[in-house]
Symmetry: C2
Subunit: 343 residues, 2 copies
Amino acid sequence: MTTDNRDTHSAVYSAGLDIGGTKTLICLTDHNGAIQAEHKLETKLSHDPRQFFLWLFGELDRLCRTYGSSLTELAGIGIGLPGVMNESTGILSSAPALNWPHEDIRPIISRYYSGVVVLDNDVNMAALGEQAAGAAAGAEHFMMITVGTGIGGALFLNGQLYRGARYSAGEIGYLNLGPGANEGIDVHTGDKPEDSEFGPFELAVSGTGIGRQAAELVQDAPDTTLVTKLASGTVPEARHVFEAARQGDDAAASILNRAYDLMAVTIKNILITLDLELIVLGGGVVEKNVGYEAEIARRISRYTPQTSVPIRRAKLGNSAGAIGAAAAARSRLAAAGRSPMTL
Amino acid sequence: MTTDNRDTHSAVYSAGLDIGGTKTLICLTDHNGAIQAEHKLETKLSHDPRQFFLWLFGELDRLCRTYGSSLTELAGIGIGLPGVMNESTGILSSAPALNWPHEDIRPIISRYYSGVVVLDNDVNMAALGEQAAGAAAGAEHFMMITVGTGIGGALFLNGQLYRGARYSAGEIGYLNLGPGANEGIDVHTGDKPEDSEFGPFELAVSGTGIGRQAAELVQDAPDTTLVTKLASGTVPEARHVFEAARQGDDAAASILNRAYDLMAVTIKNILITLDLELIVLGGGVVEKNVGYEAEIARRISRYTPQTSVPIRRAKLGNSAGAIGAAAAARSRLAAAGRSPMTL
């Protein structure tokens, strides 16, 4: 009886959680997807998934109660995690912020919650959010690319997320730049000079990559570049490069020119390969720099064949992941015939 | 009554047709997919689809009759066409061999045949053939790439063909080689120096592209290159380059080195983007050169991240398209619940 009441009457229906390395966002929605609450908290990182979910479900239950509901009354929960989430094995990998053992996390989750749970990569969840209520509303074939510390990517094809054979589709940070063009990479051994966390494309165009190129610039010509002045003694970051370029600095403009060109040709090649209807760009570097997506669109138009596909800025910002995670839970419920959406 | 008899008793159940610019292949299968007949004939090209299908269905009916059946008794027909086939509008475009008007061909087909018809691109049909009975048997996520006069590509994702927003997914011949690296192409206007039929990647690695590079080589150094000798007065072709390289000619090896490298980095980047489980290579250039796929696999292993994905040679050769077209018809029938396969 409570189940039926809940599905049709309770305002809080599903929850979306977006777990970041520093912040966790929680979104509560009703069964139509209308957002009832959004809540941001500091992520309590733990290398032990038991400790982590004890904390997480405590917070979620507390939030539900402030809305007259509780954890056990939720019809479904979606969780976006910062790594490669294999939902069929329950193992999260390539998630340095959490660094959990290669272990099925589903039994741990089921101690706290027995309803429908959808686990996925955080960028996939953000793409679902933009598709449900943002820049890609209603799109059937699109890619979301996030440009921040690293480069993230999510593919939405034929009306659904495409995850690939090992749940790592869309990880375009690792793209190679062409024969012999993987600067700083030994293409014969694949060895990278520094850490192995970043891929060749990521090293050229991500915030971290642009910052590193600025650091080299400052080292080579400390007195003549505007980046040195803007960084004023600190390690130069991507934001100093964007600001210097805005002020007309040639060296900074040259770093951005290469980053924009590589992003443009990469997107163009993805459009050719996948025949998408839309690209959505998000992440800190895009959010902080007005005109980023227009600059990419302008450069893409130089390449053949010249079919025009919109390059749009993400609309939901940091909320996309939590909104998408809640949407993922609702759509899994609908597919299982357990939601009023299917009636 | 005849319908029921046909589904369960007739040996000839569905037909697959692969329309090429010079040859047309017809494959008749029973309802389990076992091949009952394969037939090759000269394509009677016509710029009028009415004339073309009059010819085609006449040939198909004649073939069916030699197996005790007839066109009207077929449960389904799959047709692979050499161009971009939009099944939702019925319009075939980018098909220079046929060059039909932008017109819905489905009403023309229905004059001759009223059962289930599946229309698709020829490379998509070949990929379905390899997935049904060839090098990709049972695969859920793979790409088929054909290297011949041009470059063709078909994507099979999540257990089905992925066609994209405008039915042109997989057309990787148009891939750009990187900022400023589209040799011979003005990246600012997109103008190509010669015909516009070929894309930048295609101009570098296809049979036609390799032949053109050989022609330049012969023009620059007619007396010193082995290619001149092998071509013995004719226009040099890709086969002369492969043969010269096998005999140790440095200039020929250098052309192939670049083509192999570009194919390897392109496949690697596709694997990173789509997280596939397999690549199938087919087409004339691959078929005629033993070790082509091994050479590509060796070069791919130089790039990061180093996950190993099999690079396999296509198994069905020129029959792949017709076999796949018949499989497409059977699977459409099964999806519609009209086939014994679903019982």
